[in-house]
Every structure is written in structure tokens, then in C-alpha cells.
């Protein structure tokens, strides 16, 4: 069965590029353009197999989203895909329950390799 990846990013081009890459590799993709929208979708029952979120987004940023979503999805892997490189933010993300940190731009094959590591059976 196809694994579902949830992409959260305020950049339309990032969503497009990730969606194409992931669909090319057999994943199903859903997306949201900020943390609040993503949280609402998950609160309404959507259960992705993995989440890829940006950090700096309007309305609700990535760290706030992780903090909230961990109360609903405790074990779903969450990867942060961001331009941010500050260590304190990275530490905070780790503390909140993020699975990994990827700095943009990330080559498609590298991303797929990461997914295979953190998403057993994909």
C-alpha cells in the first residue's frame, strides 16, 4: 500500500517540487501551506505516514505545529525541511519531537533515501 506524505510549506514551488519527486517514487502526497491548516486537517482525522514541514511559515510556524501535532500523532516521523540553520532552533525541534533536519535545497534522491530510513517498508 502506498505511503502518504504530508507536506507543509508556504512556498508553492517547494510543494510542487516535493510532490512531483515523491509521486514519482510511489508515494501519495497531501499538502498544506501553513501549520494551522495542517493541524486542522490532522485534527479532523487525517493520518499521514510521514510529515515534512517547513519552519518559517505565516499563521503557525513549524515548531509550533510540531508541538501541537505531537499531542495527536505521537509516533509519526516528522522531518523539517528549511532554510533555517540556527542550532538553537534545531535543538528545539529535536526536543519537540522532530525526526530529522534537512536544509534546503535537498536533492530528490537524498530525500528519498532519508524517507526509506525513517519510514520502514517504504
Amino acid at each position: 500500500m502506498k505511503k502518504t506524505i504530508f507536506i507543509i510549506d508556504d512556498s508553492a514551488t517547494v510543494i510542487m517540487s516535493l510532490k512531483t519527486t515523491l509521486e514519482m517514487n510511489g508515494y501519495t502526497v497531501e499538502s498544506a501551506s501553513n501549520g494551522k491548516m495542517a493541524l486542522d486537517k490532522i485534527a479532523s482525522g487525517f493520518k499521514p505516514d510521514l510529515i515534512i514541514t517547513d519552519l518559517n511559515m505565516p499563521i503557525m510556524n513549524g515548531l509550533e505545529f510540531i508541538k501541537n501535532v505531537r499531542q495527536i500523532l505521537k509516533f509519526t516521523p516528522i522531518l523539517i525541511l528549511t532554510t533555517e540553520s540556527e542550532q538553537s532552533k534545531k535543538d528545539e525541534a529535536k526536543k519537540l519531537g522532530a525526526t530529522g533536519w534537512l536544509v534546503k535545497p535537498v536533492a530528490g534522491t537524498d530525500l528519498i533515501n532519508v524517507l526509506k530510513k525513517v519510514l520502514p517498508g517504504s
Binding site: D9, S11, A12, T13, V14, M16, S17, L18, T20, T21, M24, N25, L55, N56, L81, T82, T83, E84, S85, E86, K90, K94, A98, T99, G100, W101, L102, V103, K104, P105, V106, A107, G108, T109, D110, L111, I112, V114, K117, V118
Partner: protein, 356 residues
């Protein structure tokens, strides 16, 4: 620093009175000048946002092209797989037909051999019969000889009967009858001899006919063997060709995987647009911040009693530094303040991917 700039600017205005733009500025009120400069900051900011939009549109277009490329590539692989599937079915069908043909050809070969053996047996038997008929011919000759001797004996008996006169009359009748019988048996033997001769000729013809059929069967067997050989060779050639095609298709599929990986990597690299967007958005925000600071400073310089003294402009550096999200922004900032040249090496120190 900025206040010094304003003072110098005013001095320059006095000395550059011949410049038409300066002349135009002179007729403006201070508020109009301030609004013009605000407009310039707004223009720069809008240009930056417009640039972001342009890059976004172009990157979207590139992603669409890559999507099409991927779809075309996927379609190509599907077509190749369909072709391979058809080729496999065809190969299986040919294999089944070949095996069936081979089975029939072998059966035909066996039947030919069997028929040939039977015909040879017939041929042998016919040969033996012909020999026996020849033997019979010799017996016919003997019968003829006997008939001739009887005839001679009858003649002698007739002569002796004539000598006996009246007494030999009865004997003469018998001798004549014996002669008639000997003529008749001679005639019968002669007819039989002719018939046997004809029969012998017919049998030789039949033997030759059988020989001809055996030759034909032999040729048919050679033809069947040749057919089996050709059938085997054709199947082998088709099998080899099928394997070659499968090998080429596998190579194309491998190359296609490389292409798909390249497309995936390019798609990933296109995320640079988001990096550029965030940098430019930050620049646009800073332009606006400088514009606001400029306006405030201008008003304060004009009439210090109306506004509080603006903050130290060097504090803007700290403010800007705190707002950066990328290493490269921080490096550029430090290099600018230190007066050192730009280096991109430091920006790659942090790992691109880190799993916790």
C-alpha cells in the same frame, strides 16, 4: 552617520545648483521630498517582490516541464514493458507451435520409416515370388518336353498300330487320342508359360514401382529431417533475438531510472527558489525598515522638538543579524562589517541532512 549624510547633502545642494534634478528638488517642499524618498523605498521593495514572483513563475514552469518529462519517460517504460510482454507471449506461442511441429514431424518421420520398412519387406517378398515364377517357367518347359515325347510316343504307337493291321485298329484310336492329349497339354503348357512370363514382367514392374515409392519416402524423410532442423534453428534464433531485446529493454529501463533520479535531484535543487525568495523577502523588509528609519530621522533632523532622537543606526545591524535564518546571510553580514571578502565555504559546514 545618517545625520551626517543629511548635513552633507544639504551642503552639496548649495554647490550643485546647476544640476536640473537638484533644481527640481529645490522647488519641492520637505514633505514632498520625504514622500518621494518613501516612494523610492517602496519602489525598491516592490521590485524585490516582483523579482520573487518572476522566479516563482519560472520555477513553476520548469517543474511543469520536469513533470511532463517524467510522465513521458514513464510512458516510454510502460510501452517497452507492454512490448516485452507481447514479445514474451509471442515467444511462448512460437515455442508451443515449434514443439507441436517438431512432435508432428517426428511422428511423420517414424511413420515414413515404418512404411518404408514395410514396403521393403513387400519388395523382398515380390522378388521371392518373381524367382518362384521363374522356377515355374522351368517346370513348364519340362511339361512341354514331356508333351513332345508323348506326341512322339503316340506317333510310334500309331505306326505300330498300322503295322498290326485290323488288330491294331483299337490301339491306333488310343494312340491318336494320346497324341491329341499331348498336343493339348503342350498348348496348355505354352499358354501357362506365356501367362507366367507376363506375370513375371508385371511383378518386376511392381518391384520397381515399390523401389520408386521407397525412394520417395526416403526423400520425404530427408525433407522432414531438414524441416525439423530449420524449425529448431528458427526457434533458437527467435529465442536469442528475444533475449537480446530483453537485454536492451533492461538497459533502457536502467537509463530511465538514472533519468528519473536526475529529475528528482533537479526538482530538489529547484528549492533554491525558496531560499532566494526568503532572502529577497528579508531584504524587502529591511528596505522598508530603513525607509521608516530614514523618514523618522529626517523629521527629527528637521525639528528635534517634535520627535524623540532616533535610535543609534548601528543597532539596526544587530536587529538585522537576529532576523537572519541562513548561514550565508550571517556570513555576508559579518564579512561586510569586517571588510573581508565573501566566502561560501563556511556556509557548507553545517550538515545538509541530520537525523535525530
Amino acid at each position: 552617520m545618517i545625520l551626517d549624510f543629511f548635513a552633507k547633502s544639504q551642503e552639496n545642494q548649495a554647490s550643485e545648483s546647476t544640476n536640473p534634478h537638484i533644481e527640481a528638488l529645490k522647488v519641492m517642499s520637505d514633505e514632498e521630498r520625504l514622500q518621494t524618498i518613501d516612494k523610492i523605498y517602496e519602489l525598491i521593495s516592490n521590485q524585490i517582490y516582483s523579482t520573487i514572483k518572476i522566479t516563482e513563475e519560472h520555477i513553476t514552469s520548469v517543474i511543469n516541464y520536469l513533470q511532463h518529462l517524467h510522465e513521458d519517460s514513464k510512458e516510454l517504460v510502460e510501452t517497452l514493458n507492454q512490448f516485452m510482454s507481447s514479445a514474451s507471449s509471442c515467444e511462448l506461442e512460437i515455442k508451443n507451435v515449434s514443439e507441436e511441429n517438431l512432435r508432428l514431424a517426428k511422428q511423420l518421420g517414424r511413420m515414413s520409416l515404418e512404411n518404408m520398412n514395410r514396403l521393403k519387406e513387400h519388395q523382398t517378398r515380390m522378388g521371392l515370388l518373381a524367382n518362384q515364377i521363374n522356377e515355374l517357367s522351368r517346370y513348364i518347359s519340362n511339361v512341354n518336353e514331356i508333351a513332345e515325347q508323348i506326341s512322339l510316343l503316340a506317333l510310334n504307337a500309331a505306326i505300330e498300330a498300322a503295322r498290326a493291321g485290323e488288330y491294331g485298329r483299337g490301339f491306333e484310336v488310343v494312340a491318336n487320342e494320346i497324341k491329341k492329349l499331348s498336343v493339348k497339354s503342350g498348348k496348355t503348357a505354352e499358354d501357362m508359360g506365356k501367362k507366367l512370363k507376363d506375370l513375371s514382367k508385371e511383378m518386376i514392374k511392381e518391384v520397381n514401382g515399390i523401389k520408386h515409392i521407397v525412394d520417395l519416402i526416403n526423400k520425404t524423410k530427408d525433407f522432414t529431417d531438414n524441416l525439423i532442423d530449420k524449425q529448431n534453428k528458427t526457434y533458437y534464433r527467435f529465442q536469442t533475438m528475444s533475449k537480446d531485446i530483453a537485454g536492451e529493454v533492461a538497459k533502457i529501463e536502467q537509463k530511465n531510472i538514472v533519468i528519473l533520479n536526475d529529475i528528482a535531484d533537479i526538482l530538489g535543487k529547484l528549492q533554491f527558489q525558496d531560499v532566494v525568495r526568503q532572502s529577497l523577502e528579508a531584504m524587502a523588509q529591511k528596505v522598508k525598515r530603513i525607509g521608516d528609519y530614514h523618514t523618522y530621522s529626517w523629521r527629527w533632523a528637521k525639528d528635534p522638538s517634535l520627535e524623540n532622537k532616533p535610535e543609534d543606526p548601528s543597532l539596526l545591524f544587530d536587529e538585522f543579524y537576529k532576523s537572519y535564518v541562513m548561514d550565508q546571510q550571517r556570513i555576508t553580514h559579518q564579512n561586510t562589517l569586517n571588510g573581508t571578502s565573501e566566502s561560501t565555504e563556511q556556509s557548507s559546514q553545517a550538515p545538509q541532512i541530520e537525523l535525530f
